[in-house]
């Protein structure tokens, strides 16, 4: 396996023979600290140390045999992507011969293309220095990497400069490669840090694409993952979609001739330049500021592969438009071999993180599916039992001593359903809130729940006391989640039944509703075993059960009051314990719908 840090070690070795230790130190720092800007910084540093009026750096595009401008210092070309040099130029000679060339009077040379530049910046002589090394890496790179064009200050010793730059050239080339390794470390760090805050694949990919934009200056990108059950690509992350286009509209890409899908099938990266008709209508593509110039598609390959298997493609990374920074401006550029090497690495990292996220969420998904199934089955069972009860099918046929069994069954199943629902609601981040008719939707149902509980628990009947009907039916609407509000009251009355006195007929439960400026408060008082003073500070703590309650050894896990308080607070209200003479009193405080409208949270 290639040592990724070999270029750094080679550069360090080279430095021992380099006379210009200051040049070495500064270049090495730039390569490590600012790898994305190494090309520009390297030229600035070289001009600082050596007597150069200006300098430019070209990278060699072996596929098209041209030199493309990568950075410049002391000069200012307006557009990078258009400035390409063929090999029959002074700079091109350095590529062909792999040796340094010096030209005393460049203005008289007919191999120099841009004479206006010479005039503008008062340039007289020139050195072209190939940046070449032979270092094994995991990715392909051209030889030479590129050419450094140096313009000495007037009347300076060209021969001396030529020797200095010849000595420094392999070192600069090694640092150029080393800067790629630094970029990979930055990409890796950025991805891992951001994945730590991601809760699902979607948020992971959204954050990952930000890393791509910030570090590699890619203008727009998206990630598609393969939905293997259904054999289509699903867009899971994108930098920005056009307005009025919902992700769902281009969510699904079935098998087709779209280049994105072809990349998946072939497992090889693809490059496209204008036109982009094969990708479909522009409005279904990632937004870019100006024209769409270049697109790269990379297959995302499976991270975990069983021995003997070949990694298959699980998705596609699609990127549009490379951007280059120069003198505070952002200019359009073309993707280079360095960009491709870094994007290949990026997709490898992405595959690993997606795999890790899938493993993490798979367990959660399985549990959620199981709970969904359990809730469904409970609901079916309860509905069927309720129907039988309402038709009198049970009471007519069961002997008296078994008459309780039906209610028991419904109570037990309802209890499970309530516990699951309470847990679900408690762990829901955004409860859906709406105006609720507290009396009709919730309080009016409490007597039936209490009655069922007393039959199931075989305790003496409760007397239920409520405010006079007129007040209850005139109650203002409260703002809340209907299921959550029902859960809160259900829990409180369930506790009242669970901890009721089992001797005599003194069981009573009182509901006292009061309307305040912004809230509707409901005090629920039972006259059961009560809560000892020493336990009161802890009753809203997860899992706590008061000593006298523990003695009853009831069902449940002691989560109820913690859940109901959290639910109430999520809705802007609260649940409090109120000290009383006997039994227990809980006050449920709910925001009025009118108050919630005035102060939306």
């Amino acid at each position: 396996m290639t040592d990724r840090f070999q270029p750094f070690r080679d550069a360090a070795q080279c430095s021992f023979t380099c006379h210009r230790k200051d040049l070495y130190t500064k270049l090495a720092s730039a390569s490590f600290d600012s790898p994305g800007e190494f090309s520009v910084q390297a030229l600035d540093i070289i001009r600082e140390v050596l007597p150069l009026r200006a300098a430019s750096l070209y990278r060699f595009n072996a596929a098209s045999d041209v030199l493309a401008l990568r950075a410049q210092s002391g000069l200012d070309y307006q557009t990078y992507q258009e400035f390409e040099l063929p090999l029959n130029t002074l700079a091109g000679k350095a590529v062909q011969t792999r040796t340094v060339h010096s030209v005393q009077n460049v203005r008289s040379s007919n191999e120099y293309r841009d004479t206006a530049l010479l005039e503008k910046y008062q340039l007289y002589s020139m050195l072209t220095v190939p940046l070449a090394i032979n270092v094994p890496t995991q990715y392909w790179y051209p030889t030479p990497l590129g050419v450094l064009c140096a313009y000495p200050e007037a009347k300076k010793d060209i021969a001396g400069l030529s020797a200095s730059l010849s000595e420094a050239a392999p070192f600069i080339a090694r640092l150029y490669l080393a800067s790629l390794e630094s970029m990979k470390m930055r990409l890796r760090t950025g991805l891992v840090e951001r994945s730590a805050y991601s809760t699902d694949t979607g948020s992971l990919l959204h954050r990952a694409l930000r890393v791509l934009q910030d570090e590699l200056h890619i203008e727009a990108a998206s990630v598609f993952l393969l939905d293997e059950r259904n054999d289509f690509l699903r867009m899971r992350g994108v930098t920005r979609l056009p307005k009025n286009i919902r992700r769902e509209d281009i969510f699904l890409m079935p098998k087709s001739e779209d280049p994105t899908y072809l990349t998946l099938g072939e497992g090889k990266s693809r490059r496209y330049r204008e036109p982009f008709d094969a990708f479909g209508p522009n409005e279904r593509l990632e937004v870019v500021a100006g024209a769409r110039r270049e697109c790269l598609c990379f297959p995302i390959r499976q991270a975990a592969v069983a021995p003997g298997d070949t990694a298959r493609s699980i998705g596609v990374l699609r990127v549009f438009n490379k951007q280059i920074s120069h003198e505070g401006r952002t200019l359009p550029g073309w993707f280079s071999w360095e960009d491709i090497a870094l994007l290949d690495f990026y997709t490898e990292m992405l595959a690993i993180l997606v795999h890790a996220m899938h493993r993490r969420t798979a367990g959660e998904d399985d549990f959620e599916r199981m709970m969904h199934g359990a809730k469904r089955n409970l609901h079916v069972a309860i509905q069927n039992l309720e129907l039988m009860e309402s038709r009198g099918a049970i009471t007519e046929r069961l002997p008296a001593e078994l008459a309780y069994t039906h209610s028991n069954a419904i109570a037990a199943l309802s209890d499970i359903e309530a516990q699951i629902e309470r847990q679900d609601l408690r762990h829901t981040d955004d409860l859906e809130l709406q105006p609720i008719q507290l009396w009709g939707a919730v309080l009016a149902k409490m007597p039936a729940l209490i009655k069922r509980g007393t039959v199931a628990e075989e305790i003496p009947r409760f007397t239920i006391v409520m405010n006079e009907d007129g007040l209850l039916q005139r109650l203002p609407e409260v703002q809340g989640n209907l299921q959550a509000v029902f859960c809160i009251f259900r829990n409180i009355v369930d506790n009242a039944v669970k901890y009721a006195r089992t001797d005599g007929d003194g069981n009573r439960i009182e509901f006292e509703v009061s309307v305040h400026k912004e809230t509707v408060n409901v005090r629920v008082t039972d006259f059961g075993i009560g809560i000892p003073a020493c336990a009161v500070p802890y009753i809203f703590v997860d899992g706590y059960r008061a000593p006298n309650a523990q003695a009853r050894n009831p069902s449940g896990i002691g989560m109820g009051l913690a859940d109901v308080r959290e639910l109430a607070r999520k809705m802007g209200g609260d649940v409090r314990y109120v000290d009383g003479e006997s039994g227990s009193t809980f006050e449920v405080i709910l925001l009025k719908a009118s108050a919630a409208r005035k102060n939306p949270q």
């Binding site: 939905d227 059950r229 769902e248 959620e368 969904h372 079916v380 309720e386 129907l387 209907l482 299921q483």
Partner: protein, 147 residues
């Protein structure tokens, strides 16, 4: 007549029974394709209750509702409703209501958007503690449609 278009027969049977006890004629169609065949050209119906995560014909080649269009059958009911609205605008979407047990926020939001857009009710199955409560709600809906 009140129609259920829902493959979960065991879940809706108590409700169907309750509605029959209230003297409604009730039909249950087990998937979107059967529902479409029965309702696309129907002249009269009181209410159609459509499950959001509805099944389609097991033979995809034969079904009107593909995996892609329904997002892997997550929103078949919503696609089915739109289909009915096009094929039978005299009755739909006005005489429809959506039913769901979903806890997936994205799907719930989509169902809500659809219900709001068409001004039809969206009913969460687990909101009904008993078939009696369900029957009351359905009667309210039928009354609001037919007066």
């Amino acid at each position: 007549m009140i129609c259920f278009v829902d493959e979960d027969v065991s879940q809706i049977r108590p409700w169907a029974s309750e509605l029959r006890a209230r003297e409604f004629e009730v039909a249950i169609y087990r998937n979107a394709d059967v529902g479409f065949n029965k309702l696309a050209s129907r002249e009269q119906v009181q209410l159609v209750l459509i499950d959001v995560m509805l099944a389609a014909d097991a033979d995809e080649a034969r079904s009107r509702y593909s995996r892609v269009a329904t997002d892997s059958y997550m929103k078949t009911g919503l696609v089915f409703l739109e289909d009915l609205a096009i094929q039978n605008p005299k009755l739909f979407p006005r005489r429809a209501a959506l039913l769901t047990t979903t806890t997936i926020p994205k799907l719930w939001n989509l169902a809500q958007e659809t219900a709001t857009h068409h001004q039809i009710p969206l009913l969460r199955k687990t909101d009904f503690a008993s078939p009696y409560e369900f029957g009351n709600r359905i009667c309210d809906i039928v009354q609001s449609i037919h007066g």
